[in-house]
Amino acid sequence: MISRKLQYVIAALTVAIFVLCFYLVHLKRKAESMGDEPVPQAMTAPISGPAEEITLYVANDEDASLLPVSVSSAMPLDPGERGRIVIHTLITRYLRNDSPHPLGAGADVHDVYLLDPASAVVNLNAAFADSHRSGVEVEQLTVFSIVRTLKAQFPGLSRVRFLIEGKTRETLAGHIDISGWLDVAMVADASGELK
């Protein structure tokens, strides 16, 4: 025969188990809802101008491909600003949780300068390079993706150079050489080989 005292204890424990179960379910839902929150996006100035179709060359780590994707975006008239907007749009895509080619949080582009119709300089922020994954293929995909996206926007472009916080850097993250001008035609040929 179970004593009355023991019955109280068992009842209290049963209630406690139920309460803890409900609390666990609550915590799980809360954690899941936190995962859905968007990652911090780079801040950008509002853009004035009509919406246009722009082509982004989006890298995919799974098959090392660069696929053209059309998106609509409000585009300014200034060529340098247009370059910045397309690269910013590309980077924003890479910062999504479901990105096929993830970049580190905080990555963004400061400026794109068109020195002449054939030469562009892309000035990226420090977070872009510092948080980039290290490896020949992953760095190559990032660089090629930016170069080909710019080429799609500026068909006369023949060479592109990268700066990090306004300064020349030897490699993006230890492998791909970004210290000099990159030949756009050769990048297109090489990325064709990748596919």
Binding site: V143, G174, D177
Partner: protein, 466 residues
């Protein structure tokens, strides 16, 4: 309880045995000693018969061309021709002479395979070179490559002098009462008497035996002994440790485990390949985990590849053998002054799967430029781009043939632009989901064997180094 333990022990023993048999079957190779080169070939076992790849066998010996017509393989070797048919024993050589193989000829993925036991007959017919196969050691001697030795016991002090007609570099192992000389590189064969008794106060007896992939000479001694090599590698002296030999021009041979690299005063031949384990020192490359760092994986892979290449008779140098930093320019200068024919940079990555092969992203030579034109440092690779692409294609083809995922492309990757020989970079990624696989010996061995086979196929195709 005891019965359960007994069953467990038996099952475990059986599994270990099967594992050992499986591993042994996987690693069986034939060592080929040819007049100009030594190399190893993997054995393919089909229906209990050992086979060797016909093209792999002949390529290091001369110019081979083969073409497939339906289920027939037509082969041209140094001007002579032969024709084989899949699933048939009979084959045709030169003036329509018909001969039989010991078992059916095999075509596997477009490659021809012949029974190992028929190789000597085949070589004498196709290559017109006498050949001898030693079944016990799986060694194939082509032409007059065998090295016999003579052994002489000399006195005052007592010492055994082994004389060889060509330089040798045995691995030596000195243990209590025994001195082992292991010949894994040289085609050393018995001199007639495999076991000799001396009954000397220092030397009791000697024995010689062929072991898988080589030969072993054992001297049974009664005192601590030392081994020294002299006369440019042609003389090996086993003497008491307290009485070093006084023969001029000898240096003590380092004692090592059988697996260790032997050292000797024999000069190294000109290397065919320079291997560059990327990163080093504070420049770590990718950090896969606190204990798994790219610079270390690269060095491990480079060493494994060096071992595989040397086992195929290919001479190799490494840009670094320890954790020391090198700039891109230093690596390029090391490659350009090595007199090698091929530069291979080795990288590893946790992203993606398989092998990526890269060539330099420099423009090819302009019409007015020649290989002798003065070029800027940044374009130094331009005249050699075609050869680099040949090397990249060979590596990619071998990876694909062995079922490894592979991609190849051009990339702006230092120091490829500055290298003045055929130059490629290889980035290796795990086949599964975990980066830990990069450090696994089986994975590294598989990658190294694949790369070594493809590099071996490039001999004679890349031209002389500048």
């Amino acid at each position: 309880m005891l019965r359960a333990e007994s069953i467990f022990v038996r099952v475990a023993t059986l599994l270990l045995f099967l594992l050992a048999v499986g591993l042994a079957a996987e690693t069986r190779r034939v060592v080929v000693y040819a007049p100009k080169t030594n190399y190893q070939l993997d054995i393919l076992v089909r229906d209990g018969v050992d086979y060797l790849g016909l093209t792999d066998l002949l390529e290091p010996l001369g110019h081979v061309e083969s073409r497939l017509e339906d289920n027939k393989l037509k082969l041209s070797f140094n001007g002579g021709e032969a024709e084989f048919q899949d699933g048939k024993r009979q084959y045709r050589v030169r003036a329509n002479a018909r001969l039989d193989l010991a078992a059916n000829f095999l075509l596997v993925n477009g490659r021809g395979y012949v029974p190992v036991v028929s190789v000597t007959q085949l070589l004498s017919r196709i290559a017109v070179q006498p050949a001898e196969f030693h079944d016990g050691s799986c060694r194939l001697f082509i032409g007059s490559t065998k090295i016999s030795y003579s052994a002489e016991l000399r006195h005052d002090p007592s010492r055994l002098v082994l004389s060889f007609p060509a330089p040798v570099k045995p691995s030596t192992l000195v243990e209590k009462g025994r001195v082992h000389l292991l010949f894994h590189r040289e085609p050393v064969v018995s001199s007639g008497a495999d076991k000799v008794s001396y009954g000397d106060s220092f030397l009791l007896s000697t024995s010689f035996a062929e072991i898988p992939g080589g030969a072993e000479f054992i001297a049974t001694v009664q005192q601590p002994a030392t081994v020294s090599i002299g006369d440019g590698g042609r003389t090996v002296i086993i003497s008491p440790a307290t009485q070093p030999p006084s023969a001029p021009g000898t240096v003590p041979a380092p004692t090592a485990s059988p697996a260790a690299q032997p050292h000797s005063p024999v000069p190294r031949p000109r290397p065919f390949v320079i291997l560059d384990a990327a990163h080093g020192g504070s420049e770590t490359g990718s950090v896969f985990s606190p204990t798994l760092i790219e610079k270390e994986i690269n060095l491990m892979l480079a060493r494994q590849l060096q071992k595989e290449l040397e086992s195929r008779g290919i001479s190799v140098v490494l840009t670094r053998v320890a954790d020391n930093p090198l700039t891109g320019d230093q690596r390029a200068i090391a490659a350009n002054t090595s007199h090698s024919s091929l530069y291979i940079a080795i990288h590893s990555s946790a992203s993606g799967h398989g092998v990526r092969v890269y060539t330099s992203m420099v423009p090819a030579l302009q019409p007015r430029q020649t290989r002798r034109s003065f070029l800027p440092w940044e374009l130094a690779q331009s005249p050699h781009l075609d050869q680099s692409r040949i090397a990249a294609s060979a590596i990619a083809a071998e990876c694909a043939y062995r079922g490894l995922p592979v991609r190849s492309s051009a990339a702006p990757l230092r120091p490829l632009n500055n290298v003045t020989i055929a130059a490629v970079a290889v980035e290796v990624a795990p086949l599964g989901a975990s980066a830990d696989e990069l450090a696994a010996p089986e994975f590294q061995q598989r990658i190294a064997a694949t790369l070594a086979t493809s590099i071996a196929s490039l001999r004679g195709k890349l031209g002389a180094a500048q």
